[in-house]
Point group: C3
Chain length 203, copies 3
């Protein structure tokens, strides 16, 4: 692994860490985990075999990424976000639950798409997908899939607005909106918003 | 201690850990703590003197079990559950609070009964009892005692359904219900549900 | 540094820790952090350069104090309180967010004033001030400044009562209230309460 920084107290059992990625104190990356280039994994984190992490991802302190969690490129995971992979957990050591945990179908995967942000202390129920560039507010409990570019808040979380790729909130006059910070243009549609495609230049 | 696995980075100051129990990285078990056989204590946990843990208990990562917390056999503690033992805390070092902390009556105990599950990020206020096989939803804030077999959600948490010992949700037609997974039978009563006792075989 | 206790597994990069302060296992105090005398920093904590901590402060386990967080004297930080310093975070490594993080104006400071308590798992949005001796309930999400002596609960948190410096709840008969525990007297005003000043002795 080239130019990977691993803090002396961190435990890294994976060989699959991308260039320029840094892993900080008291964190543990298990065997088989894949982490892309140019990521930052904060302190007191735990990344379990089966988790997959893209490039340019920022994982703040105190995060646990379980088997089944995928973070696409450019994702932000705030401090102490809580991922889950089981919708009605029991102790697998409880005799009454042994049969359930003898198979793998209790596990539901979570996907966080490109550029999305998960606010501090947000809780993501197993089996949900967070759309591209969505922003989950601090402490929100995500119980449904989240549309791309949506700002969601509350418990259970609901869509309260829309945000640009750069993070700035968007305002829509009728069907179109332009980011006041970076100038990206969006179109409002029935079930969400999308990036306005550049019109083809006439020949 | 026989067949106890302690990760090289874990700190275990107790001599009272049951057979087959495993304690993972960066966790700390203090003096006098009692942990039963066949338990799993995840990473970044802290178990304080005065905590008592039964057998077959699963404690996921990032949990702190304070003095006054008792977990019965087969309990599941999801990631980053938050226990408390003080209902109106101040810094004990604050001069105005010194008198209060000179005695021990600020401490309220928490009991989690056999087979119960505490979902990820749930918060348990001091002094509460979680009934047998109850299931506390992710992020729920428990402010009252929880009946056996109850599924509770929300902040403050309220009963929204009932679950079997195996974890499966139960449906009741009138006064009786049978688990679709494991076949256990339950009776609905005024204040909760209970396991149907096998009828005595006539002689 | 005199009489500072640092657990053998803790990392302390600051030279500015007050007398009698203790820093427990698996915690990390970064360069430049200032911590006053007689504090207690629990396990699995992270205190970032730029954080400032007064005297007699109690920080329970699992806390992260970011750049921009100031805790005055006598503050209590319960287990796993979540501080933040960015109101609409993106991964700074995301190309679309690079411009925003090239300056420092994304950072909003948090101030917790003398004697205040932050309950377990509370979330403090960036840029807020918690007044003297206020008490934030477990799991509350603080989205506005908090008045001195206020008890706040919920998500978003609202004022539900008032507490004394010693932590006891206060009751008001008309405009005045006296703490049943420590006898301090308070006056109720339009926007909060304040400590009743001793009347000047007539000459």
């Amino acid at each position: 692994m080239k130019n990977v920084y691993i803090h002396p107290t961190a435990l890294v059992d994976s060989e699959n860490i991308g260039e320029g990625t840094r892993i900080w104190a008291f964190s543990h990356v298990l065997k088989g985990v894949s982490i892309g280039a140019n990521c930052n994994v904060g302190e007191h984190c735990y990344i379990e075999s089966g988790a997959v992490i893209g490039t340019n991802v920022t994982i703040k302190n105190g995060n646990e990424l379980w088997d089944g969690v995928t973070l696409a490129d450019g994702v932000f995971v705030g401090p102490k976000v809580i991922f889950t992979n089981d919708l009605h957990p029991r102790s697998p050591r409880l005799p009454q639950a042994a049969r359930r945990y003898s198979k793998r179908d209790w596990l539901f995967a979570t996907v966080v798409k490109e550029g999305a942000s998960l606010g501090a202390g947000a809780i993501i129920l197993a089996g949900k997908t967070i759309g591209e560039f969505a922003m989950v507010g601090a402490g929100a409990i995500v119980t449904r899939d989240v549309p791309a570019y949506a700002l969601i808040l509350g418990a259970p979380a609901t869509v309260v607005g829309w945000v640009c790729q750069c993070g700035r909130g968007l305002e829509f006059l009728e069907a179109a909106g332009t980011c006041a910070d970076c100038g990206l243009e969006f179109l409002r549609e029935a079930n969400g918003i999308s990036l306005k495609q550049a019109e083809p230049v006439s020949a």
